[in-house]
């Protein structure tokens, strides 16, 4: 199956990095078009489908929510798109990430500071619990 033009779901999965279960899920969720079917009712994928799956996979790895992945895919396919719209989505995501990172960092530092105060031995005294207890 080296130059397969038509392939099964697991082959498409291997080539795209998206697991079969997830491919079906994306189809059901309307992120990708329902796959063509071969005579045995198996889903049949070609290189172009794999390309799409790869796109989705990369977008997901960049943490875009599925809704945005769908939107990006639409933009990708629409050659008359405005790059403004793409950038807008990207910057929205960056802003979201920045907020989340700031949150997590604040939490991380707070806990690390408390843990530093804690002896961490056999004794019960512990600033972490004191803090949580108020």
């Amino acid at each position: 199956m080296k130059t397969a033009e038509i392939m099964t779901i697991s082959e498409a999965a291997a080539r795209s990095g998206v697991p079969p279960k997830t491919i079906r899920f994306y189809e059901e969720a309307g992120i990708i078009e329902p796959a063509a079917r071969s005579e045995n009712r198996y889903r049949a994928y070609d290189d172009s489908d794999v390309h799409t799956l790869r796109f989705v996979h990369r977008a997901r790895r960049l943490g875009f929510p599925l809704k945005d992945v769908a939107a990006l895919l639409d933009l990708y396919r629409n050659t008359k798109r405005a790059s403004r719209d793409v950038k807008k989505l990207a910057l929205k995501h960056v802003a979201q990430l920045d907020r989340r990172i700031a949150e997590l960092t604040a939490i991380r530092d707070a806990i690390a500071a408390l843990a530093k105060q804690c002896q961490g031995d056999h004794r019960p005294e512990c600033p972490i619990l004191n803090e949580l207890g108020g």
Copy 2:
């Protein structure tokens, strides 16, 4: 109801910061003990329950998973605990946060770099989509 010793769920919610729905959820999930009931079958909370709820609330705000919150609560109540066990949980969480923060930061920087390359105007050309498309 300023110095109420016994109170309803919404009062406990107001005092602890945990919404009524969430209090019920915590009870159902076994994080907190089933509340006492008054004659009308309403849940009845006292100051000590509120204290517990506050503990849970703070632990959650620090991002501890519910399982760990339950464990922390057990440690909090067990005066024979070893601070070692508390610190261990805390440091595990810090490590987890560090991993997550690193992930998000990498993603953030990648998208920000791509967005910077993107003109963001009426034209279709866009490095973000080029990247996602491979």
